[in-house]
């Protein structure tokens, strides 16, 4: 039990108490395995970190959270030593807290707004909100008695029965946005069926983000809990092929949510891109994560290996691919990025972890050609050197080629992680669905409703590639609107 007072009067920040570090596997150990790097807080560490929160009267942190978690509320419960209470607060806003605590870029979201971050020299820096969220979700699940139902894990309540089976809703795509819709509506007793194209539910959580960052057992735990609530998951069903939106409406689904993501990889259209050894990050990561190729030949999916590996790009996907390549035995892994380290969109913790593990940054350059040998196997990449120009529309400085300045990097494997495009399969099979100029679905920003009445959309298929939590935020908004329409004032 914490001795912290429970009143919410803002206090002056206490004298400098540094952020509580989270234990991690040492870099040289962790690159030999595929286990989670960050080990999570102990009870004492969580207690110490929770105590740093000053319970602001007007908490800014909450504004930084795309699903507006009552952060002050759950940390306040932790300060009182009430773990189930803290979990309940989290669950009211977020159906995947164990996931978000691990993968959100907190430094640009909740923690970026924390008042303690405004003057870190005096305060020790923002409260580690993500680490506390993760602690609450993991510890609550771990402390449940073995006989407790999965439903209890997800909601903190034992009631699992479908109260309104006649109110059925379908989600196409089984990623974070659809899972949020399913979790939210199922908790209200609405029957949700999720149609997933792959053989495992979770979208990017299972095929994209590696085990060492997000153990798949955690994703499965959250999905099992939704199943216990009555949500149904149909794998191997491709939206637009095996099932059409109009069919679902005809079958009596009261609403359809489209959360199919932006999974189509972008290539660079430079010569030699189809040489053997050049992969999209999606393929590389799908083989390793969904296909468990890190465990080949015990699992059947093979993966391509090389001593020297280049990863093109500077986002989270690039970091995941680079760190995966290290774990699969590469001697040198280079991140090839056309801007500088400061502009990299990757989550800060992942970039730091990657550098600790030995990933080498090659900034201010981009591929001109993937050079192959006589058998079309990649042997090197010809690089164009860059310098930074004026800021572009995104606010980041535009990389400009330095004429005549090229370099050659000898690698046997190149992984392209320069972004994704909308997957057209479902879009082409859904007449009447309005798309924007970039080919993404047009949806009302408040409700998520598309140009087709009763059909909602959210996540990357609306915004383009973004974060897990923003997809969940969109899912939450759509689910709220669906619930309002189906249940009226009850919702």
């Amino acid at each position: 039990m914490s001795a912290k007072p429970t009143d919410t009067t803002p206090k002056k920040p206490a004298k400098r108490v540094p952020r509580t570090e989270m234990p991690t596997q040492p870099p040289m150990v962790r690159i030999q395995n595929y286990l989670e790097v960050a080990l999570g807080y102990t009870d004492a560490e969580a207690k110490a970190e929770a105590a740093r929160c000053i319970q602001c009267k007007k908490p800014m942190c909450r504004k930084g959270c795309p699903v507006e978690i009552d952060i002050k509320g759950f940390i306040g419960q932790l300060q009182k030593g009430d773990l189930p209470g803290a979990y309940k607060v989290l669950r009211d806003y977020n159906s995947l807290p164990a996931v978000c605590g691990r993968v959100c870029p907190q430094e640009t979201q909740c923690e970026g707004e924390c008042i303690l971050g405004k003057n870190p020299d005096k305060t020790g820096g923002p409260v580690c909100i993500g680490r506390l969220e993760r602690y609450v979700a993991d510890t609550f699940a771990a402390k449940l008695a073995a006989g407790d139902s999965a439903c209890l894990q997800i909601t903190g309540e034992a009631a699992c029965r479908m109260e309104r089976p006649e109110l059925k809703v379908a989600c196409i795509g089984g990623g974070p946005s659809s899972l949020t819709v399913a979790g939210y509506l199922a908790a209200l007793g609405i029957k949700v069926t999720v149609f997933e194209a792959l053989h495992e539910v979770g979208g990017v959580l299972v095929y994209g983000i590696p085990e060492f960052r997000l153990p798949k057992a955690i994703v499965r735990r959250e999905i099992d809990a939704m199943k216990a609530l009555g949500a149904e998951f149909k794998t191997n069903w491709v939206g637009g092929k095996a099932i059409l939106v109009q069919e679902l409406l005809d079958q009596g689904y009261k609403a359809v949510f489209l959360g199919v993501g932006a999974g189509l990889p972008q290539f660079m259209n430079v010569p030699g891109e189809n040489n053997i050894g050049v992969f999209s990050a999606n393929e590389y990561l799908t083989r390793v994560n969904l296909g468990r190729a890190y465990d080949f030949p015990n699992h059947d999916t093979p993966i391509f290996k090389a001593d020297n590996v280049a990863v093109i790009g500077g986002g989270n996907v690039a970091m995941d691919a680079a760190r995966t390549a290290l774990r699969l035995g590469a001697k040198n892994v280079y991140i090839v990025y056309r801007r500088t380290k400061d502009e990299m969109p990757a989550r800060l913790e992942e970039l730091e972890h990657a550098i600790e593990e030995g990933v080498q940054l090659m900034c201010l350059c981009g591929p001109l050609e993937f050079v192959g040998d006589e058998n079309k196997r990649l042997k090197s990449i010809r690089l164009q050197k860059m310098c930074l120009g004026e800021p572009d529309a995104s606010g980041r400085c535009r990389p400009l080629p330095i004429e005549g300045a090229t370099d050659e990097l000898e690698v046997g494997l190149a992984i392209i992680a320069v972004g994704t495009r909308p997957n057209p399969i479902l879009l082409e099979a859904t007449p009447g669905l309005k798309l924007n100029k970039r080919g993404y679905i047009e949806a009302d920003p408040e409700t998520g409703e598309t140009s087709i009445h009763g059909v909602f959309a959210g996540g990357d298929i609306v915004t383009g590639a973004a974060t897990v939590i923003s997809a969940m935020g969109a899912g939450r908004r759509a689910a709220k609107e669906i619930a309002r329409r189906l249940l009226g004032d009850e919702a």
Binding site: L198, H199, F296, D300, N423
Partner: protein
């Protein structure tokens, strides 16, 4: 959910097998040219197989596979009544079929099974379908009788001359094209060298030639680009843009090389599987 095997027919012992799978939602949507992706176990890889036939009413999908590696060898151990854990489809663009006159469908090896479904589609659209199939000898010919049910002409080539023309399907095709100037399309499905040879034969005749590419695939829904190939100088994804493309535009050399990407791993996996089989540890 899993997918029950309603019928297993060994077409060529130890080599080629036909399975009829209970998968109503796939059968109701599948068209000629579509394929499926399946997994044989929880640890299995995703492998693509072209749909050889389907029956929407019965809710069944027929697949035919050649035992070439671990996954197909394991699939061959499945018996009637057993279930396949993952069976996803229909995938890919269906064959473009309209009434156009005479269509020659060329099939080689296990490709004859996929060709059978497409030929059936063309026949149903009212086309005069000529089937040209080949094998090493007459015992290895696939779907010969079935094709006869809707193709007015079934032309056969065997390497040893035990049935039909002695030699390759391309020789039969060339002769047929020389005799008949009104062929509107040639469709070829089979091993890469065979499709490449067909495209080479038809080129001087200026006949539209469609080939079905068998690239390496992972997800089969456009997410990864493993199956990318060069068609007319542009990169295409065989799983969503194809698998059928203009045979005169395909870079077959690149396709052949890309198909060999994982050969050492494939051999390692197969060796391990065979070892397990011999000592009775595995299935």
């Amino acid at each position: 959910m899993s997918y029950r095997i309603l019928q297993k027919k060994i077409l060529i012992p130890g080599q080629t097998t036909l399975l009829v799978i209970d998968a109503p939602h796939v059968a109701s949507k599948a068209k000629p040219g579509n394929f499926i992706i399946l997994r044989t176990s929880e640890k299995g890889e995703r492998i693509p197989l072209t749909i050889a036939d389907c029956d929407a009413e019965a809710g069944t999908v027929t697949i035919v596979f050649l035992v070439v590696g671990k996954s197909t060898a394991e699939l061959n151990t499945f018996e009637e009544g057993m279930s396949i854990p993952d069976f996803c489809g229909p995938l890919g663009k269906p064959t473009h079929i309209d009434k156009q006159g005479t269509v020659i469908c060329v099939g080689g090896g296990t490709g004859v099974a996929a060709m059978h479904h497409i030929a059936k589609g063309h026949a149903a659209a009212g086309n005069h379908v000529v089937a040209v199939i080949g094998a090493r000898n007459k015992d290895l010919l696939l779907f010969c009788n079935e094709l006869g049910n809707f193709c007015p002409e079934v032309l056969v080539a065997t390497d040893d001359g035990s049935f039909g023309h002695k030699g390759f399907v391309t020789e039969v095709l060339k002769k047929r094209l020389e005799e008949d100037k009104d062929v509107s399309e040639v469709v070829a499905i089979g091993p890469v060298p065979m499709m490449e040879a067909v495209a080479k034969v038809t080129k001087p005749f200026g006949v539209k030639t469609t080939v079905s590419l068998n690239s390496i695939m992972v997800d089969g829904i456009g997410m990864c680009g493993a199956c990318r190939c060069t068609v007319g100088g542009e990169t295409k994804f065989a799983c969503v843009d194809g698998p059928e493309f203009d045979g005169h535009q395909v870079d077959f050399g690149e396709l052949r090389q890309r198909l060999g990407q994982f050969r050492p791993e494939e051999q390692e996996s197969m060796k391990l599987f065979q070892h397990k089989c011999q000592c009775g540890e595995g299935k």
